[in-house]
């Protein structure tokens, strides 16, 4: 995906000195990050390195202790409910476990945003849902099933369809390939690249799957002990000159990175 990397313009998402602690544990310690419009940024890092917390702070699901998070130049940290809902309209999110609503049918899951938030009529939203399911390679008959009747890979596809149903400007991916076999993981990666490219959206992903990071990202940032210790184009990751990055991308047990025990 690197060949299509956009030139840095006014940042779509901009983080300055973002910090988050849980009690004495400092999870994020001053993150600075810019994501350009149309760019796909992938944040890598070990378990417990603060990737999920970073994503939740950008999404507004968690408030940082300090720092600035701007979306389209607009400061979002102190947003009230109404402003938060407005900026959420720009977002689509693929959760690690899919987070599909298990009391609703597949098509109702995909059509949830258009119906509940955009006030679309259910018949029209159903057509949108079927079209989006088609975009992720699922037939209309899948729409009538419940999420519990689907395999892990199909659930991820449905979750992706839901994430793109409202044609968001920014899509977030939380460990999109976790728990999938390598072939299905590659299918999901291809779908992510296609969907993001078709929508012309900006993407922010967190993952520890290097194959996925290389495939879906224009740029990669490495999070370690709450700091972005390296960031650069995907092509540069193999000669980053950073011992932490080298250890991580080659999956070596020996090196400067020590296993993080606690989860955040």
């Amino acid at each position: 995906m690197n060949a299509d990397a956009p030139q840095m313009a006014a940042a779509k998402i901009s983080l300055r000195d973002v910090a988050k602690s849980f009690g004495p544990k400092k999870v994020l310690q001053g993150i600075d990050l810019d994501v350009a419009p149309g760019e796909s940024m992938v944040v890598i890092g070990g378990s417990g390195s603060g990737k999920s917390v970073l994503l939740k702070c950008i999404l507004g699901l968690m408030a940082p202790n300090r720092g600035s998070i701007r979306v389209d130049g607009e400061e979002t940290v102190d947003f009230n409910d109404r402003s938060r809902a407005r900026v959420m309209r720009k977002f689509g999110m693929l959760f690690q476990g899919g987070a599909l609503f298990d009391s609703l049918r597949v098509w109702e899951n995909v059509a949830f945003g258009p119906i509940q938030s955009d006030g679309m009529r259910p018949e029209q939203a159903r057509e949108v849902a079927i079209a989006k399911l088609g975009a992720v390679g699922l037939g209309p008959e899948i729409g009538e099933l419940f999420p519990s009747e689907l395999s892990g890979g199909m659930q991820k596809r449905v979750a992706l369809a839901r994430a793109i149903a409202r044609e968001p400007e920014i899509i977030f991916f939380d460990e999109p390939t976790t728990g999938l076999d390598p072939i299905m993981a590659d299918v999901i990666n291809d779908l992510i690249v296609k969907c993001v490219s078709d929508l012309g959206a900006t993407a922010v992903s967190i993952t520890h799957d290097m194959a996925s990071a290389r495939k879906i990202g224009h740029r990669i940032g490495m999070l370690y002990e709450g700091r972005l210790i390296w960031q650069g184009p995907v092509a540069d990751i193999d000669h980053s000159g950073n011992a932490h990055v080298d250890q991580f991308i080659h999956g070596r047990a020996e090196g400067p990175i020590r296993m993080q025990v606690r989860k955040f």
């Binding site: 999110m93 959760f95 690690q96 945003g113 509940q116 409202r166 977030f172």
Partner: protein
């Protein structure tokens, strides 16, 4: 010995006050958001069906056997004083004022409160609540408000049905086992019954409906830690709702009937 004991006592008091504050704040948020659009009517109807219609068999069975036992037990006591004619009065007043709302409340707390805590708790630990937020839907309004309103509206209807079924249970035992005249039994029941008896029971039911759904939603919404957390939320929802039902029952009774 005294200082560690005081420390434990202090910690327990602080934890209790913290929990009470959190529940109160949760309740106020539910009330505040219940008057603000958007209103999720379909969710409300679904919850009313879940709380009301699907609880009918269990509440109905509880009510009919309670009415039957009440008639039977009253007879064994009242027969000693030749006061058998008071049985219809005792059955109807006990049911409408106390047993109808309290037993229906406890049964619904076990059935619906537990299910709510488990469903919302599972949604919390599987990130479905976060997913609602990212779909520009306020999860509190979507999940909590319809359940609380459904509880307040539906439980009085359920209790009214329970009252009628309970009186029928007493009537069946009175007429077919204790040889009461059926017309006399019904006349005694209606003559003695006052509007306040039924009304106080319905007020109790509305309050219990609020407490049951509030506890189910609160414990589910704040659950954490996977399956164990959801299990704990379910237990806490039933236990706290049951205790609150019995506590509030006393205070509402005192408000209505104390001289």
């Amino acid at each position: 010995m005294t200082i560690p004991l005081l420390t434990v006592l202090g910690r327990m008091t602080l934890a209790f006050l913290e929990a009470a504050g959190a529940v109160t704040s949760f309740a106020f948020q539910a009330i505040r958001l219940s008057v603000q659009p958007p209103f999720y009517r379909q969710q409300l109807l679904r919850q009313m069906l879940e709380i009301g219609y699907y609880s009918l068999p269990v509440v109905g069975l509880t009510a009919i056997f309670t009415g039957m036992v009440l008639a039977l037990q009253s007879y064994t006591g009242f027969a000693r004083f030749s006061a058998e004619s008071a049985i219809p009065n005792v059955v109807v007043v006990s049911l409408t004022r106390e047993l109808g709302p309290v037993l229906a409340g406890l049964m619904v707390a076990g059935r619906v409160g537990a299910a709510m805590a488990a469903e919302i708790g599972t949604m919390r630990v599987t990130e479905q609540i976060d997913a609602l937020t990212t779909l520009s839907t306020n999860p509190f309004k979507y999940l909590v408000v319809p359940r609380v309103i459904a509880g307040i509206v539906t439980l009085p209807i359920l209790v009214l049905v329970a009252d009628i079924i309970g009186v029928l249970g007493g009537f069946l035992v009175g007429v077919y086992k204790l040889d009461f005249n059926d017309t006399a039994y019904l006349r005694n029941t209606l003559d003695f019954l006052e509007f306040q008896d039924v009304f106080s029971g319905l007020v109790k039911a509305a309050v219990f409906g609020f407490l049951i759904t509030l506890m189910g939603c609160y414990h589910g919404y704040t659950s954490k830690g996977g399956a164990q957390g959801v299990g704990m939320a379910t237990t806490n929802a039933v236990v706290s709702a049951s205790i609150l039902i019995l506590t509030f029952n006393y205070f509402i009774t005192e408000a209505f009937f104390s001289r």
